[in-house]
Assembly symmetry: C2
Homo-oligomer: 378 residues x 2
């Protein structure tokens, strides 16, 4: 997720103001797709707007790898940052809280309040760590579905998300066809490409090789901080376009006298190091391992043609690609819509010309906002 959203002009309409998260405890087991079970689980989520009397106006927002339930608003008026998609949610914004009841939820396996490898295993009283069951994107979506039903919602007006969140939107459409009317999938692919697996694997190896990982059995608040920081630094580069990095940093140097031989010499290095350091304060390394693995396993088609996967889908779909996204390039976004159309579904592709790379989907854009607004309200 980008941290330079602040460079973009304020979006239309007003924000959602002060918000609070909620925790919902499910005192019932959750069985994982690849085997394994947790006896109970907890979900952290936020909502914005009001659920209408026929419970038909809910929009689920699915976050990307490093995101969470805090989609919009601030917890306190002096919070430096709003939620990660604040520009998208609020009165008059594309996810218009005068019309929609918007839900953000931290994913299963995450570390921001929902049960994951960093949570306490109620059976042992210890942290799950690597005893947490293997995780897939389908597991995450099934946990979202449990939350949505617990809110009394049988059918979502829409599911929307970018990157990993977009993949989850696609899974909603095929796994819960009766429970979703519209899907908006941004900057994602129908299957993880080999290069994306490769980058994730480099990040995982940085974590696994950090002696502080201790085979995944580190104490809360400890862990492979250096390895996780390196993983995040790398991922961060893949979320930006070369043009964007060049435009923002170019060859600007850090003006520090007496810096050590291998201290940050260029501004882009200082920026990346900051991204790494701040990430370890808010993310659990085992969650990073589990979630990236789930991403790498994501493959809607398997050995069959992709249109077969979309056969159950009844939702209308909007798939958006971004011209400068080289992690999931537009051709991979388009492929989704081609397969949906081949399966006889109602789907449209929109390509937005932005130079921010994969992270473009997080930034306010008149074109993107119009496209989403029209799709959700049409």
């Amino acid at each position: 997720m980008s941290d330079d959203v602040s460079s973009v002009a304020a979006p239309e309409g007003g924000g959602v103001g002060l918000v609070q998260f909620e925790d919902r405890f499910f005192d019932e087991p959750f069985d994982f797709e690849l085997g394994g079970r947790v006896p109970s689980f907890s979900v952290r989520f936020e909502t914005y707007g009001r659920l209408d009397s026929c419970r038909s106006n809910a929009v689920l927002v699915c976050h990307a790898l490093s995101g969470d339930h805090h989609v919009a608003g601030r917890y306190a008026s002096d919070d430096r940052k709003a939620g990660w998609w604040d520009s998208m949610v609020g009165p008059g914004r594309p996810l218009d809280t005068d019309r929609f009841f918007v839900i953000g939820m931290n994913c299963l396996g995450g570390c921001r309040g929902t049960t994951g490898p960093g949570s306490t295993n109620p059976s042992t009283g210890n942290i799950y760590g690597v005893d947490f069951p293997q995780l897939t994107m389908r597991d995450m979506v099934r946990a979202q579905h449990r939350l949505v039903r617990s809110l009394g919602i049988e059918r979502l007006h829409a599911v929307i998300g970018g990157s990993m969140g977009g993949m989850q939107g696609l899974l909603w459409a095929v796994d819960f066809p009766d429970a979703v009317g519209r899907v908006v999938a941004l900057a994602c692919a129908a299957r993880q490409n080999a290069q994306a697996v490769a980058f994730n694997e480099v990040g995982r190896c940085a974590i696994l090789h950090d002696p502080e990982w201790h085979g995944g059995r580190y104490a809360r608040g400890r862990g492979p901080r250096a390895g996780l920081a390196v993983a995040r630094m790398l991922a961060h580069v893949t979320y930006k376009s070369q043009e964007r990095l060049e435009g923002r940093f170019g060859r600007a140097r850090v003006g520090v006298a007496g810096a050590g031989l291998f201290d940050a010499e260029f501004e882009v290095e200082r920026y990346l190091r900051h991204q790494g350091h701040s990430f370890v304060e808010r993310f659990d390394a085992n969650s990073y391992l589990y979630i990236t693995r789930a991403l790498d396993r994501f493959d809607l088609s398997g050995t069959a043609p992709l249109e077969v996967a979309f056969a159950p889908m009844s939702a209308r779909a909007l798939v958006v690609g971004f011209s400068s996204d080289w992690l999931y390039p537009p051709a991979q976004n388009r492929e989704i819509v081609k397969a949906m159309l081949a399966a006889g579904k109602n789907a449209v592709y929109d390509e937005v010309d932005m130079n921010a790379g994969h992270d473009s989907f997080l930034l306010p854009s008149v074109e993107l906002h119009r496209s989403i607004r029209e799709f959700l309200e049409g």
Copy 2:
């Protein structure tokens, strides 16, 4: 450097057969561009073909980050691999050893025989480590120039190289204009872009954060092996195109029963881990830090327009870009030639359509070989 060259058909002509490297000791100081000095230094190099009587047929080959002096041929008939650019060098090959005297040299700061951070400091008897002077690309080129002169060569017929080696070719043209007649620069840029700095910085941080780095003062044969492997894995991904990785690996899985939770699950992961492991056997982590830093500092233009940098150049130049190179994309290759032409120099740009990414320059290609042959012989 690619390890999948074997997938390409054998090139034209014959190879150079069995070869030996030589070491040349310079019992004289070397003063570094940014300050610092070594009292003496040693250079490892190889030559192929014969120097003609007027010493006018020498071609210097400059290697990339992970390359070395062993450009062509084998040390023993049962060597599994030939030199890294074997397809380019030999009788009838583009660097035709029936015509040219070809020189490969391990760069200053390297770890394959030429003096670098892993060498013994004669003043102390200890390994230099981080006491080695800060290094620039100009330092490497000046060391090459010392070797060339020591071979009795006043003027090279040509300097040729890809990636870092291409940058060195450009520096020869501007720093030693009387000493080189032709320059062939492949898959390189006139200055390191911010994304390339960013990737190098992630790799450096993986090394610096490995506790076995010990502030750069590790014993010979020890060191930050895990961190260096991660750095190499990352760099390796940046040398390949997404298309190439997808075509070679796709979503093929490693068929290992009972594999651990975070063992390699996909073939692309196993391949990358192998690249990392094998790299640490042949490369010194401090050399990796010094050389990537030198790369990141490379900026021919500085604050002036690039054509100003090329004012001293008298060599003819051939600059080659590769369509799928996203580390130094064709636009950055073309920029070099535009600036040379703006400076009134004799320069030509050739773009080769290959899908192997940055590593394309290492692979035999009829088009590339023809282009180089014609340029060197024209």
